[in-house]
Symmetry: C2
Subunit: 403 residues, 2 copies
């Protein structure tokens, strides 16, 4: 049977062939947290003109001293443009952010002035310095300057900057679309009371949330019964997405129809069954499409913890080949209590990892197996035990994958 690493490498090779769905142009409002996939250059100077940073009077600072009276030529507000030139003996009233009039070499704050003889003359109470209260054109951005490099993660300040340079749309490194389909005669919708032998569809919402958590938009295909026609119809819809994630129907039971239906629809199997616990029956294949495009198909086992672990170990790994920041964090932690690891399958075990200043300590939860979603919901990590049955001692270092 394949090891986890061998299986991951097989999937990575297929994903790299498919990575043409990387770049998408999206409106600025949808870019938070996404990775920019182009170099963005400013089309403006910022500020676009010399501007005042206070409300006050634009003056010719040279030769002007406190106590002087000046004639007010006009008033310039932000968004307006001065029509006159400041000369010795005159001033133009100016608002914060407004363009500096020609001739002006400084701005006196309104608090250091007083109107005299109506609205037409102002007395200044300080001796201005040349350049005071002025920000020069292009101080923060110069036209043609690179403002953001490809590969940066977009945060609110960067989104504001993109808006400032006129980019209402940008190319981002987009995640594939991911269709999610739950299969099984025993599965009923969440809002149903299960009858005898039935369970609710917990995998659908869980897998869709896992897709969302990675920043991609899940496409929910609902539940398919174990019936070849119904399965084929829903799988065909799912194959329109970049990824199709199924749960259930991949073991060797009489109703495990998924691999057969996938094969009939032209999905080429890459692997089936991997040496891990939970999740051994995992299935992976590739569906070739037009224009050298392809859909990557993951058949996850139906038990919820198996589905979860296989998503984390395989689907997320494949997506991580496209967006490396999706590769989950692993760390070493000390086992709080001795653990007897049964069987020879490498195992992911729901656990709680706690850290103090120097160490991380991992406590295994009393996990009841691959159907026990409650314990997984209580966990903050999966502790990993490599193959071969043996006792892991308290204090021994194990690898944990943070959730």
């Amino acid at each position: 049977m394949l090891s986890v690493t061998e299986a991951q490498e097989l999937s990575a090779a297929e994903v790299r062939e498919a990575n043409r769905f990387l770049l998408r142009s999206v409106p600025l409002g949808e870019t938070l947290g996404r990775t920019l996939a182009e170099v963005v250059v400013s089309d403006i100077d910022s500020p676009p003109h010399d501007k005042s940073i206070v409300d006050g009077y634009a003056v010719l600072a040279e030769g002007l001293s406190a106590g002087t009276e000046l004639a007010i030529l006009e008033e310039v507000t932000a968004g307006a443009v001065p029509t006159q030139q400041v000369t010795a003996g005159t001033a133009i009233r100016i608002m914060t952010g407004a363009p500096l009039p020609a001739g002006a070499t400084g701005v006196v704050m309104v608090e250091k002035t007083e109107l005299v003889g109506g609205e037409n003359r102002v007395r200044i109470h300080e001796t201005p310095r040349s350049g005071q209260n002025i920000v020069r054109r292009a101080t923060s951005l110069r036209r043609g300057e690179t403002v953001l490099h490809a590969g940066v993660r977009l945060n609110p300040a960067r989104i504001g900057l993109l808006a400032e340079v006129g980019r209402g749309e940008v190319k981002i490194a987009s995640l594939p679309t991911v269709a999610v389909l739950t299969t099984g005669n025993e599965i009923v919708p969440v809002d149903t009371i299960p009858g005898p032998g039935q369970i609710r569809n917990s995998n659908g919402p869980m897998l869709e949330a896992l897709v969302q958590q990675l920043g991609a938009q899940p496409i929910s295909l609902g539940v398919a019964r174990d019936e070849p026609g119904e399965l084929a119809a829903l799988i065909r819809r799912g194959l329109q997405a970049d990824f199709l994630v199924l749960s259930g129907g991949v073991s060797a039971g009489v109703l495990d129809l998924v691999p057969g239906v996938l094969a009939e629809l032209g999905v080429r199997q890459v692997f089936h069954k991997v040496n891990l616990k939970p999740g051994k029956p995992i299935w992976f294949g590739v569906f070739p499409k037009e224009h050298n495009n392809r859909t990557l198909v993951f058949g996850l086992p139906g038990n919820p913890v198996s589905s979860f672990v296989c998503f984390e170990v395989f689907v997320r790994y494949a997506l991580g080949c496209i967006r490396p920041e999706l590769v989950p964090q692993s760390k070493l932690a000390l086992l709080a209590v001795e653990h007897y690891h049964r069987g020879d399958r490498p195992t992911y075990w729901p656990a709680i990892c706690e850290e103090d200043k120097t160490d991380a300590l991992v406590t295994l939860l009393p996990w009841k197996g691959s159907g026990d979603l409650k314990t997984l919901a209580d966990a903050n990590c999966l502790a990993f035990f490599p193959g071969k049955e043996r006792v892991f001692q308290a204090g021994e270092e194990v690898s944990v994958r943070l959730l």
Copy 2:
């Protein structure tokens, strides 16, 4: 002038009065990352019946030994229910997850069996233990058991668990709705080439991204010109939200109409102007509504870095009174290079904080002032310098707020 802390406390008092908009019932698909606001109890046992965890044969294990042949009574798949009872000398074929038939005390894996004489008889190749390959009813969940407590953050496993216990909708601690309005005659839309004296609306997209980042849905009101009628109409729409965040128009200039229009519409001013840099002109008030409800109104200064800092320091603080996890992380870091802090206003300065194993080092960026969004976009933190002009030495500890 108010200090930052005094202003934050004034806003916190108003937010606490308003915290009736906390709880909302939302569909499961919208709960990722949200905080659960109710205690959730299981309405089912999980598994709902004793079940087989392998494909194989349900048998009466006691007294049975390897080599025995058994008559096959029927086949039970997942989702079906057994109709017969297993007795000595008989077996029922059973699939993974299917309910255990009455009388059965163990399951022999299909791999350890072989069909003999057609489809009706099976020979078993192992001596089964009582209870083997069976998971008992209610092993992972018992009906009436609390599965999730109020206050937990919803992740994919917990969302799966909520689906398992039939909760297609849950109450979450929801953030308020936040309307965002940019004001100013000089502001043009992002997809426009600015004319003389004009700048693009960078604050709108930036503030909306800040709202999104906190997990709330922004309501975009676009741009209002400095004209009382237009301002009043858009502000009236914004007052329907729980929070209204405006940018621009809050200084003392002739076109700073926002405080006046807010007062006319019945918004009670709580404070105006706070001793910080950038962001001094910040305005905060409360609009009383029916049913003892209220809208919290923040008027942020129009320069983009001032708007950003005031959002982080005041709007986010107010939202943090409702959802404590929104309070941003602050830490101490060592100043990489000496810094001369001018003036007596406490200042937030865009900077880069880098960590090694023992220390965090903060390097101030060459920030050009409150219009310089480019430098803020390059920063990963804001370094804080308390009031009073003085030299901060290289190696001196300063507080940084991570972005």
